[in-house]
Every structure is written in C-alpha cells, then in structure tokens.
C-alpha cells in the first residue's frame, strides 16, 4: 500500500508521518504542495505544523495549494484521507470536513498528552480500533477548539461521525470533539498526533492503532 504525506511550507510533522508509514510496512510517498497529482497513492495523510505560517487562518492558504485539487478529487471519490492537527484545519477550510477550529478557550498554546476515546470504528482510520477504546495521544495546538453550529453538531452525533472524543476537554471543543469524519466517512480529521507516538523509541506506539487502521480497511 502507498500512503502519501502532503508537505506544505511550514508543515512540521511530515517527517514523523512518513516515518510512521514506513514502520507500518507501507510505502511512504512525499506529496509536495506544488504537485499536480497524488502519485498513485492509496491513502493520504495531511500532517500537522503551521502551513504557510498559519497566515490569515490556520489552513486557509494551504487549502489552495496545487496539490489540494487532486486531493479533493481523491477525497470526494472515497479515498482515505487523514488530517492531523493543522491537517484537520486544512480539511475544514477545504470544506472536506464540517466545522472549524477556533482559538483554544484558554488562549494558550497547548502541548500535552491527552486521553481520547474512540467513538466510531466505521472509518478507514479507526477500523483497527475498538469502540470505547481509550488512547493517550499528544496534542500541540493553538486552534483546536472544535466549532460547528448546533444543527451540524446534532447531525454529527446522529450519524456517529464523532471519531475521537476527549475524556478531559483541553481546549473548549464542542461536545469534547477531538476528531470527526466526512459524510462518506473516508475523510477524518483529528487534533491529536498519532504519528508522534508511532515508535516504541518515542515512548509509545499508541498512534499506530489509528494509522495502521488504514491497512486493516484495505485488507493488508
């Protein structure tokens, strides 16, 4: 399986994500922001960082990078896409996921480990987990406060599209939401960083529970 990782100016978790993909036994493929195609990958990770310096709004400029056009086609045709942290912000700006990520309620950057509960395994990025499973994952963000209007939140809950939920809400997110999926369930955005805990040398490989799921879904 070939898994692409997008690289924007200011991405800073792309290397970690590529390393995690290699540990999973998949082929890691860099997708440069100026690339016009996705190099035949089977799944895409949009990593964290501060794409384009977070200018204007986090993700607002990256959303119009050249690589986003084929990525949007890929996502809309059912391809598995995972946005992590800034990647989640990019996917909401691109309207591939509902809602937006507001400034943390504390107004402070949060760098911590948090416990989250897997709420849905009906996505390519949680198919290898169990419903109710608890994971400890790193977060590092200034805008992680998930917002959607009341009707959208109700719909997300009804359709079981909340993928991860914080056990202790660190940032003010509506309904303790740490991750959501698209209507087609193939696009997932999460604030925690699974790629930063994907190697026992980093103290934990809990993140592989999420990342490896995409192999389960593909029957690898």
């Amino acid at each position: 399986m070939r898994i692409g990782v997008t690289v924007f100016p200011g991405s800073n978790c792309d290397r970690d994500a590529l390393h995690a993909v290699e540990l999973m036994g998949a082929d890691a493929v860099e997708l440069w922001h100026g690339d016009a195609d996705l190099k035949d990958v089977d799944a895409v990770i949009v990593p964290g960082g501060f794409s384009y310096g977070d200018y204007l709004r986090p993700g607002a400029i990256a959303r119009f990078a050249e690589v986003m056009a084929p990525l949007e086609d890929f996502a809309r045709s059912g391809g598995p896409v995972l946005g992590v942290c800034n990647g989640f912000q990019v996917l909401t700006e691109a309207h591939l996921l509902p809602g937006a990520l507001l400034r943390n309620i504390s107004t402070k950057f949060i760098c911590d480990r948090v416990r989250v509960r897997v709420e849905s395994v009906e996505t390519p990025w949680t198919a290898g987990c169990e419903v109710g499973e608890e994971l400890t994952l790193p977060v590092a963000h200034n805008e992680g406060n998930y917002f959607a209007d009341a009707a959208t939140l109700a719909r997300l809950e009804d359709e079981e599209r909340v993928v991860l939920r914080y056990l202790e809400n660190p940032n003010g997110s509506a309904n303790d939401i740490a991750g959501v999926c698209s209507e087609g369930r193939n696009v997932v955005g999460i604030m925690p960083h699974p790629e930063r805990v994907s190697d026992p040398a980093l103290g934990s490989d809990a993140g592989l529970r999420i990342l490896r799921s995409v192999l389960v879904g593909a029957g690898v």
Binding site: L56, L102, R103, N104, I105, S106, T107, F147
Partner: protein
C-alpha cells in the same frame, strides 16, 4: 496602468462565536485602570488595492473570511 481602488475589508467572529482573544483583552483592560468595558471583539482589517471591485465579495467568501465562523463587510475607501 489601470486605476486602482483601495478596499477595506473587515472580518470578525460571527455573533455568538467564542472570541477568546477579545475576552482576554477585555479582562486585561481593568488591570490598566480602564473601567466599564463590557465586551471586546477582535477582528481583522484587510486592505486591498484592486483594479476592480467586481470580485471583492468572492474574495471575502472564498479566502479572506471563513463563513463558518466569521462575517465580513467591505467598502471602497478611495
């Protein structure tokens, strides 16, 4: 060279959307002795020079603001 128009775009959080920056500033003002400040909302001022104002509204909708969380208004300044 074509004449250019100066456009001023104001983007701010929609009413009811949490504005932690505004709240932090509101709570800081009394510390400097400024009393009676009930609310502070922080937005963004964007100045453009354009050849035509025809597409300014589309620019606001597609990039300059995020309609999920922000509202905008714009005017031709000169």
């Amino acid at each position: 060279m074509a004449d250019s128009l100066k456009i001023r775009v104001l983007v701010r959080p929609k009413e009811g959307i949490l504005d932690p920056q505004g709240e932090a500033v509101r709570s800081a003002l009394p510390a400097l002795g400024f009393g009676g400040v009930r609310t502070v909302h922080i937005g963004r001022l964007i100045e453009l020079e354009v050849e035509s104002a025809d597409e300014v509204d589309a620019m606001c909708r597609r990039l300059l603001s995020n309609p999920t969380i922000e509202e905008y208004e714009w005017e031709v300044v000169s």
